[in-house]
């Protein structure tokens, strides 16, 4: 690693005096930098590793020696307990269904709106855009009471739609789409229009197929956001069979109280789906966040 650590800068023989000392300073700096980075990244992995290590220890052992990292008798007993006590298959399914539904609706409604704002021309377009821009400053959580009352009125408590619908108006998604659509060459749209394609058809057959990167970026950040949302499903869902994974897992905590092996097993069970998604799409996710116009 030290080989790559030397930046190309130092390889050019500097015309200034004392190239030797400069080279040493550069190397020393890189050594220290690497040390700091490795120390912090290992520190950052400790909670995850510890949760995993504790979850596979027998409960009795965790009680007698809670801070040990190792066990002579690894077991999945704690995981079994969680499956027995909770409604884990339901929670996974509920989280999956609500996240997918929200993501699909957000991508459809958001990209349509962004396309209208970016490509079509109509009188109220600028006003509509400014109103949407203002929406970025409305913190959704602050509005939980009226949102809850509206859903109660509509009889949507303890339903998927109750979890899904209020999360669909995602202003950031519209902006990300609009920014991408703004970059599509005008000629491409005009050509389609000249061939007699309607706006809707232009959107569906020309624009969406070339928008894969932005669609996947929005899909991932909406999906993760909805999957991880806690406060909203906590309010809307009280029926254990309708709970999402994060809400369900915390309800198990109340059942077990102290036994930490079970606690850590539920943490691991909650962490696995998203860590898997992250491991698979690391590049996409990171580029998505970095490139979504948040800059």
């Amino acid at each position: 690693m030290t080989a790559t650590a030397t930046p190309p800068v130092t390889e050019q023989p500097a015309p200034v005096a004392e190239p030797r000392r400069k080279y040493d300073a550069e190397r020393l700096f890189n050594r220290v930098a690497l040390g700091v980075l490795v120390a912090f990244s290992l520190l950052w992995l400790v909670p995850l590793a510890w949760a995993l290590a504790t979850s596979i220890r027998p409960s009795q052992e965790v009680i007698t020696d809670p801070t040990s990292w190792f066990t002579a008798h690894p077991t999945l007993a704690a995981y079994g307990d969680i499956f027995d006590a909770g409604k884990l298959p339901y929670w996974y399914a509920n989280s999956f269904i609500t996240s997918i539904l929200t993501t699909v609706l957000t991508v459809l409604a958001g990209s349509l709106a962004a396309f209208a704002l970016s490509q079509t021309r109509f009188r109220a377009r600028r006003v509509a855009f400014v109103m949407l821009l203002a929406g970025i400053m409305i913190p959704g959580q602050v509005l939980m009471i009226p949102q809850f009352l509206a859903l109660q009125e509509a009889g949507l408590l303890n339903t998927y739609w109750g979890v899904v619908l209020p999360q669909v108006p995602n202003v950031v998604a519209v902006f990300v789409f609009k920014q991408f659509f703004d970059g599509i060459p005008r000629e491409l749209i005009d050509a389609a229009r000249a061939d007699g394609a309607s706006w809707l058809r232009t959107y569906r057959q020309i624009v969406m197929p070339i928008s894969r990167p932005v669609i996947s970026a929005v899909t991932i950040f909406v999906f993760v956001g909805v999957w991880n949302n806690f406060l909203w499903p906590l309010l809307v869902v009280t029926d254990p069979e309708m709970m999402t994974l994060p809400v369900g897992l915390t309800s198990v905590q109340d059942v077990f109280g102290v036994p930490y092996a079970q606690l850590m097993a539920s943490a691991v069970l909650g962490a696995i789906p998203l860590l898997a998604v992250f491991a698979l799409f690391q590049r996409r996710i990171v580029e998505g966040i970095a490139g979504t116009g948040l800059k």
Binding site: T4, P139, M144, V286
Partner: protein, 302 residues
């Protein structure tokens, strides 16, 4: 030119409605779940609305406002929220900046650092809370154990001591969300041309001087963005506090959003909770507006 105007003219009436029509589905969601609730919050703040009775209840004028502003618990939760914001924003901006600058020097190991710092960010708050419930537990937790290793004989009860509870929650939050800022900074660093580094190096600047006088100033825009996003996110803190301490011990960690949750949903005082919501909204709005002003100014200077 001809190609752009001809088809639009030929298309006629149905086409004029295409734009608004495509905007409609999103607008409906937007009106029903953001604009409507915002108006309701403003209105309910002037009524003595209750969860137990239907309708808005009796008109209350500004009495909700005088009650809230005269309520020491409102000020305490606001103070807790601001304290949490300071405790998280400072390390989350500075530490992510430092780590990103250092990681930017290494091409080959970067994926590992990115994984280590970013992986916690994808976890649900519930999972983070479960982990730190154990880490911060009295006697059996890793945090107290670690404190004794470094020579503290009687480590504090991390979540049970009012002086430490908020600090502990903030530390867990730094662990959880650092990766997001880290990634934004890495992206900002990508935009600095290699030639800038080289020019500075040829001028005889060492690594430390280059970072201080070249890299950090060039990341100014990213830093503004990261700071504002962080402040706004921290002002909305709820999940991890609710699960780790439920606002305790003795309300020492209770944030504003939990005051809204408790008064609104547990006590059913919707009028009061709406007033608190609106005041919190104004605070967040002010922060966002200051950001817009800063960005505007920075862009004009360019």
């Amino acid at each position: 030119m001809a190609t752009t105007t001809a088809p639009t003219k030929a298309r006629g009436r149905g086409d004029r409605w295409a734009g608004p029509g495509m905007l409609l589905p999103f607008s409906l969601f937007y009106l029903v779940f953001l604009v409507g609730p915002l108006i309701y919050t403003v209105v309910a703040g002037f009524f003595d609305t209750s969860l137990l009775k239907s309708g808005l209840g009796d008109f209350a004028g500004f009495s909700n406002y005088s009650t809230v502003l005269g309520d020491s618990e409102f000020w305490r939760t606001l103070k807790n929220t601001l304290w949490f914001t300071v405790l998280t924003t400072v390390p989350l901006v500075l530490l992510s900046l430092v780590l990103a600058i250092l990681a930017d020097r290494f091409v080959r190991g970067r994926w590992f650092f990115r994984f280590a710092f970013f992986a916690p960010f994808v976890l649900p708050s519930a999972v983070v809370a479960l982990m730190f419930t154990f880490i911060y537990a009295d006697q059996v937790g890793l945090a107290q154990q670690a404190a004794t290793w470094v020579g503290v004989d009687t480590p504090p009860s991390w979540l049970g001591d009012p002086d430490w509870a908020m600090i502990s929650i903030a530390a867990a939050t730094v662990w959880w969300t650092l990766g997001f800022n880290f990634v934004l900074y890495l992206a900002g660093l990508q935009d600095i041309p290699r030639s800038v580094h080289e020019a500075a190096a040829i001028d005889g600047a060492g690594p430390w001087q280059r970072i201080r006088h070249v890299v950090v100033p060039m990341l100014g825009r990213t830093t503004t963005l990261v700071t504002v996003l962080q402040v706004v996110a921290s002002l909305k803190v709820f999940d991890q506090i609710y699960m780790l301490t439920n606002g305790g011990p003795d309300g020492s960690t209770r944030p504003s959003l939990q005051l809204i949750y408790d008064t609104g949903f547990v006590e059913g005082r919707v009028g009061y909770a709406s007033t608190v919501s609106l005041l919190l909204f104004v605070v967040i709005l002010l922060v966002s507006l200051v950001w817009f002003a800063l960005v505007r100014r920075a862009e004009k200077e360019r």
